[in-house]
Amino acid sequence: MTSRNPASRRPSRIGKWLRGLAGLVVLGLLSEILGRAGIVHRDFLPPASTILGRAVSLAGDGYFLTNLWSTIKAWAIGLAIAVGGGVPVGLLLGSVPVLNTAVRAVVEFLRPIPSVALIPLVSLILGSGQTTEVTLIVYAAAWPVLFNTIYGLQDVDPVAKETMRTFGFGRLAVIWRVSLPSAAPFIATGVRLAAAIALILAVGTEILSGFGQGLGTFIAQAQQSIDGTKDVLAGTVWTGALGLLVNVVLVQGERRLFRWHHAQTGGRS
């Protein structure tokens, strides 16, 4: 499966990592030169080494870590609720067509609203605490989970379901033993998208709501302070690193768990 000929033309996994790294190094060097040569004012764009140095030193900064932890906590709680709710609701809508058509209109109305646009509204109603943050995360992250669950259910092979029915498994047993595992790779993709969206909403809410705790709050406050640019950028680096880490972990998890799926689709999805 890994030794098919198109694969040999594509760069290997290590090759991909190296290229990605090379891109980052070039970007770093560029900002370093721009910063040090004074082409861009230091207050706007400090050299990469300064930003990275600050980002590393933040790892030992108690105030920053409290903020980081607060964001991670809101993110994890929100994502857990979104997955815990999105998957069962998706299973229900995906297996009961009548319900699906009934709910469709509501869904089609709500879905196009960018979740970020709801931040002021929800803050107004729920105040600017973690409740608001988690609520917004749940709302935004539940969509990809819900849709991928429904989509995954549509993709379940009817022959596989019929087979289990003929062996005497009931409706629920067939959902549990055939539909859910079969849809699991799609659901996992939904969770990965949801994880990224949840991070956007977490940091976004923190930045916009102005007080409370979190990476976003840290960044927003740094922006207000004199000589805060390097803290703003160091905080941003942390946010990016967090997103990258989550994505890598989830992609690796999917690879391991859904080998059967990738083997069947030839690694297309």
């Binding site: 596989a160 595992p181 083997a263």
Partner: protein, 255 residues
Amino acid sequence: MMLEIEMVGHSYAGHTALQDVNLEVAGGELLSIVGPSGCGKSTLLRCIAGLIRPAQGRVVLNGAQIDDVPDNLAVVFQDYSRSLLPWLSVRDNVALPLRRRGKPKAERRAAAEAALATVGLSGADGMYPWQLSGGMQQRVSIARALAYRPALLLMDEPFGSVDAQTREDLEDLILQVRGDGMTILLVTHDIDESVYVGDRVAVLSRAPGTVIADLQVDLPAKRDQITTRELPEFVHLRAEVGRLVRGGAPASQAS
């Protein structure tokens, strides 16, 4: 009669697949079903399995009309590869239906491995369906049905993807399990096979399918691949079934 099919007809979106099908099968009997491609053989098996409700007529099993999947049934689907679960190992695929039998895990595992051995797949227990060839996958789905020990076994072209030697072994395996009292309906395109394994051969007409002949196979219960196939009765019957499938008139009217 264990199974009675009475005036069954079915259509898909205006296309009539089956019409006025009448058949009876006694307990412990093996009925071969042959007929041209697209004449409704799989549709008929689906009606018996309770997966589709026939538009006309009814199917009666042990005195009760079938309107849902009957108990104690196993089906080997024509789409064997789609009927295996790719996230389960071959062993777990075979063992899964045995949960319905309330067997403990160790027993399910042992039964699955034994069934896989009877279809010549002892080495493949831990492999996944997508790692196997089509013929091997087909044998896994046969092993799954046999391990379940159903009262009624429906097989839809179950040996289509295996080599000639394995096919003969599997035919003999079916003859052997039939001895345990299983009632079997076997759809096949192979006329020799329909006669070799069958107690009776039902021949369906071109679409819309209906039963044009229901022939008794008067061969000794004990059969083997070489001598049975050279018996005059065998040669005669296969010629007759062959003529019927090709759309010719029956040479003699058998009941």
